[in-house]
Each structure stands twice: as structure tokens, then as C-alpha cells.
């Protein structure tokens, strides 16, 4: 239940909390949905402000904010799935490069440097050049399951390259 009345001290602490974690939430949304991250953040902030009564600074408050942002994103995805997207908007979405694309490319380039040569070749072959697992297995003369294992390990290493964790 949304708490409609809060004391001014809590409101001030909550405002300070939002200011502190706003950039983190925006970065998270930009990774999920770069083109609409700002809109989703505004929607998230409005939502958590209404529910600020359930905010507990003693718990992992940053994760709580990301959870709210993720919920907002999922809601938008569900709405989007029900909507008929106009052709023009679709074309615009497909051609316009997101603002953080260059930043992501740099991050990926850095993360790839931490992989072994085989892991890098498999990851870029599968996700970059859209080659099948079977093709990659033939190319590298490896069993299919070995290719999968290397690919899974490469993805785990990429996931560990979390800029927020640095």
C-alpha cells in the first residue's frame, strides 16, 4: 500500500537517496533499453516516490531502486508487446544509434581483452558474426559441447566486467 503521508525528515532522506543513486539507475536502464532510459527513469522515480513508505535504508536500497527500475522496464515491454508500433517509429528505432552505443563498444572491447583468444573468437563468432555453434565447432575443430563451455565461460567473464562493480 502506498504511504501517502511521510514525515519531512524521511522525505529529505529519501530525496538524498534518490539523488545519490539516480545515475546508477540510469546506467542500468541504458543497458536494458538505451533509447528510452531517461523516460523509464522518470517513471521509476515517480513510482518509488509514491511508494517511499516502503523504503528501508537499512536494507540494500540501491538494489531496491534497480528492482523498481526493472519492474518499470518490464511493464513497458508488456505494454509495447500489446501495442501496434507504427512503421515510421519502427524504422526510426532501428536506424537511430543509441546515445551510449560508443560507450558500450568501448566496454566490450576492454572486456574482450580479458578473454582468451579462443573465447574471444567464439564469442565474436557467435554474437558478432551470428555464426552457428556447429559452424564454430567445425571451424575450430572442437566438439560442440566444448564450444558451448568456452562460450559460457566467456559470457560469465563479460558479466563480471560490471562497470558499477569497479
Amino acid at each position: 500500500m502506498p504511504r501517502l503521508m511521510t514525515d519531512p525528515a524521511t522525505d529529505a532522506a529519501f530525496t538524498a537517496f534518490l539523488q545519490q543513486h539516480r545515475a546508477h539507475a540510469l546506467a542500468f536502464l541504458q543497458r536494458l533499453c538505451p533509447r528510452e532510459a531517461e523516460d523509464l527513469l522518470q517513471e521509476t522515480l515517480a513510482k518509488v516516490w509514491r511508494y517511499r513508505g516502503s523504503w528501508d535504508p537499512a536494507r540494500n536500497a540501491a538494489a531496491w531502486l534497480l528492482q523498481a527500475a526493472f519492474r518499470t522496464f518490464l511493464d513497458q515491454q508488456r505494454r509495447r508487446a500489446r501495442e501496434v508500433v507504427a512503421d515510421e517509429q519502427l524504422v526510426a528505432e532501428q536506424t537511430e544509434a543509441p546515445a551510449c552505443a560508443a560507450e558500450l563498444r568501448d566496454e566490450l572491447t576492454r572486456a574482450l581483452a580479458a578473454l582468451s583468444e579462443l573465447e574471444r573468437a567464439l564469442l565474436l563468432g557467435f554474437h558478432g558474426q551470428q555464426r552457428s555453434l556447429q559452424e564454430l565447432a567445425r571451424q575450430h575443430r572442437l566438439p560442440l559441447n566444448t564450444v558451448k563451455s568456452h562460450l559460457h565461460r566467456a559470457r560469465r567473464k563479460l558479466a563480471a566486467e560490471n562497470p558499477d562493480a569497479r
Binding site: F28, F70, R120
Partner: protein, 136 residues
């Protein structure tokens, strides 16, 4: 869903080229474990950026081209006119030396000439000649 099960299901989604967020179970797990959200979003975004990143290409020269280049380099080295650098020996050795008293020029009490031969071959002779005099 246990973390290991989540990881397996996530990898399966990527292997099948489907968006893990289209899987309600995976999305539900992420909602229940917000501490995993940042890492998941990072991985999903990086994999989506992969087509835009070209692999650092290691150039492999074809073997015939390498062999041809080596032959050309060898021929050029063999046919290149040899240029002999004049190099001094590590330590000079005086082969002969002579001291000659000369007629003293005007204003000088006496004069000498010393001559030291350092190199002597059929075609080459290198010597150091010093001439000195003392004033009256």
C-alpha cells in the same frame, strides 16, 4: 530458482539467441534477486553490442607470399653493391717510426719531423707525420 539453474537457463537463452527477458521465469528470478540485475543488464548489453565490434584481426600472410618476399630480400642482399666501411682497427700498432732533424726555419732554433707508419699494404700506406720546431 537456484543461482546455478538461473545461469544454465540464461546461457541456454543466449545459445538459442532468444532474449532472456522474454522468459517469465528468468525475469521473475531477476525481480526476486535485484542484486543480480546490474550484472545481467551489463552482459545482455555487451552481447548486443558484439556485432558492432570487430575482432582484433591478426593478419596471416599466405605462405607463398612470405616465401616470395624472403627470396626477394635474399636476392637484394646478394646483389647489393658491397660498401666497405673504413674502420679503424681496435688498437693501432706503430709499424715503423723515424725522427729526422730538419733545417730549422727562420726564427727557429731547431726542427724535427717524426713519422709513424701505422698501416702498410701493397696499395695503402697510412702514416702519421708530426713536424715541430722550437723558437730561438
Amino acid at each position: 530458482m537456484h543461482a546455478d539453474d538461473f545461469d544454465r537457463a540464461l546461457q541456454r537463452c543466449f545459445d538459442l539467441r532468444t532474449d532472456p527477458l522474454d522468459d517469465p521465469e528468468l525475469a521473475g528470478h531477476l525481480l526476486a534477486h535485484p542484486e543480480a540485475l546490474a550484472e545481467f543488464a551489463q552482459l545482455r548489453a555487451l552481447l548486443r553490442a558484439a556485432p558492432e565490434v570487430t575482432a582484433p584481426v591478426r593478419r596471416r600472410w599466405p605462405l607463398p607470399l612470405l616465401a616470395a618476399a624472403a627470396l626477394v630480400a635474399l636476392a637484394a642482399t646478394a646483389l647489393w653493391p658491397a660498401r666497405v666501411e673504413a674502420t679503424a682497427p681496435a688498437s693501432w700498432r706503430v709499424l715503423t717510426s723515424s725522427l729526422t732533424e730538419q733545417r730549422a726555419p727562420a726564427g727557429a732554433a731547431f726542427a724535427w719531423q717524426t713519422r709513424e707508419v701505422l698501416v702498410q699494404t701493397d696499395r695503402t700506406r697510412l702514416e702519421v707525420v708530426e713536424q715541430w720546431s722550437r723558437n730561438r
